[in-house]
């Protein structure tokens, strides 16, 4: 948060996550090489370069699918949230693996001629109208450039200094990059006679990504329609039964103006804050309370539920809302208070959380 920058803000969770991630990628690449060696023997044996090229490329695309899926998965089921906390490192690692794959390919296919390897990459194949001989490597290059921009601007310094909307627009380029990569793999695998298995894997991956995104969006829509019951007398928002909010979790409600409010339950008390994280707009209501603080599911920024302020030495503040419980139901005053305003939590009548 807004104390001086360090190069990586590691904590124990992130170290474990990163260790699992690196070990997983290494195991995948090793397994890929061993299995391919055993399957493609004698005349069909592949050179080491091609094997490594394929191992790295497919590792990168698998990771990209993981990255694309954890957002909607976490929206559909909170148990996936831990995967979301450190997506940034996953993204950077995916880029580094893809970069190695791309560099190897450029060196191996274009590095031995008289032309500059990149000139060769752009010019050696111009069959842009052919499906079976399409210059698929150019597509990979395009995707790699996008991934570079995302990885290079991943530090919090960039979030702050590029402005949130520019950064987000840059980040949404992951979808065009994904399309380029699906084409890169589909056309590459086709050209290199990989048989139907590559096609099937890729098809399943695309279905998964598209299906999860549609599912997540539908769920969001339904949730927004479900709750905004406004008490006509006083305009407080009904946020449903207090007992129905799981301990240290939130229920998200939506005002008529379309603002989302996260209603948290902690220590037998109810507090409401904006659903929008001050860092990058992450959905606070999908996070949980860790060490007494609301913890954003995206990058782990924290806020105290009572006043919407980050614990010292941090200085971030978010909008808070007045809450009350009437007849066991939570009500939220939809007029937000200035960020960081302390609010008396409403006390649940039932026994406090176990």
């Amino acid at each position: 948060m807004s104390v001086g920058y360090t190069w990586v803000q590691w904590n124990r969770h992130k170290r474990v996550y990163d260790a699992v991630m690196v070990a997983g990628a290494a195991a995948y690449i090793a397994a890929f090489v061993v299995v391919s060696r055993a399957t493609w023997t004698a005349d069909h044996a592949l050179s080491d370069e091609i094997l490594l090229l394929r191992a790295l490329g497919s590792c990168a695309i698998v990771l990209l699918h993981l990255i694309l899926c954890i957002g909607p998965l976490a929206r559909l089921d909170a148990r996936f949230l831990p995967l979301l906390y450190n997506r940034r490192h996953l993204g950077v690692m995916t880029f580094l693996i893809a970069l190695t794959h791309g560099s190897l390919a450029v060196g191996y296919y274009h590095g031995f001629g008289v032309l500059n390897p990149l000139v060769s990459l752009l010019t050696s194949n111009t069959n842009f109208l052919s499906l079976t001989a399409f210059p698929f490597q150019v597509l990979g290059l395009g995707a790699l450039i996008i991934m570079f921009l995302m990885a290079a601007t991943s530090h919090d310094f960039w979030l702050r200094n590029l402005s949130a909307s520019t950064w987000k627009r840059l980040h949404m380029l992951v979808y065009p990059a994904y399309v380029l990569l699906v084409a890169h793999v589909a056309l590459g695998a086709l050209q290199n006679g990989r048989g139907p298995s590559a096609w099937i894997c890729l098809g399943l991956g695309v279905c998964l990504v598209v299906g999860l995104h549609l599912g997540g969006a539908l769920r969001e829509l339904r949730r927004d329609r479900g709750h905004p019951v406004v008490n006509p007398v006083e305009d407080w928002l009904d946020a449903g039964p207090a007992a129905g909010i799981p301990a240290n979790r939130a229920r998200t409600v939506c005002t008529r103006g379309g603002e989302r409010i996260a209603v948290f339950r902690h220590d037998g008390k109810i507090s409401a804050v904006t659903n929008v994280c001050a860092h990058q707009g992450g959905p606070l209501g999908e996070g949980k309370i860790l060490d007494g603080c609301i913890t954003c599911p995206w990058h782990g920024w924290q806020y105290r539920p009572g006043d919407g302020r980050s614990p010292p030495p941090f200085e971030e503040k978010i909008t808070t809302y007045q809450v009350r419980i009437i007849g066991g139901r939570v009500q939220v005053n939809p007029r937000g208070l200035p960020p960081g305003t302390p609010v008396q939590p409403a006390l649940c009548e039932e026994s406090p959380d176990a």
Binding site: G4, T6, W7, L118, T123, A152, W158, L162
Partner: protein, 74 residues
């Protein structure tokens, strides 16, 4: 793509990035503190980490840097 076209594109990209590397080097040593107070006294590892982005997005960086120099007391 014709070889000449590819050469021109790559030359332009190379020139852009060369300028970027120079701007980024000076920026992470001497400029980053002036556009973001949280970067004051930050370690070299942080400066190294933002360098590739600064080299790729140097027009944005220059612009922020000039803005910061114009109104030093933010």
């Amino acid at each position: 793509m014709a070889i000449e076209t590819a050469r021109i594109i790559l030359f332009a990209a190379g020139a852009y990035l060369t300028i970027g590397v120079v701007v980024a080097a000076v920026f992470v040593i001497a400029g980053v503190d002036s556009i973001d107070h949280a970067a004051k006294g930050s370690p070299w590892s942080f400066r190294l980490l933002i360098s590739p982005g600064a080299a790729a997005l140097w027009p944005v960086i220059l612009r922020r840097w000039i803005d910061a120099a114009r109104k030093p007391h933010r």
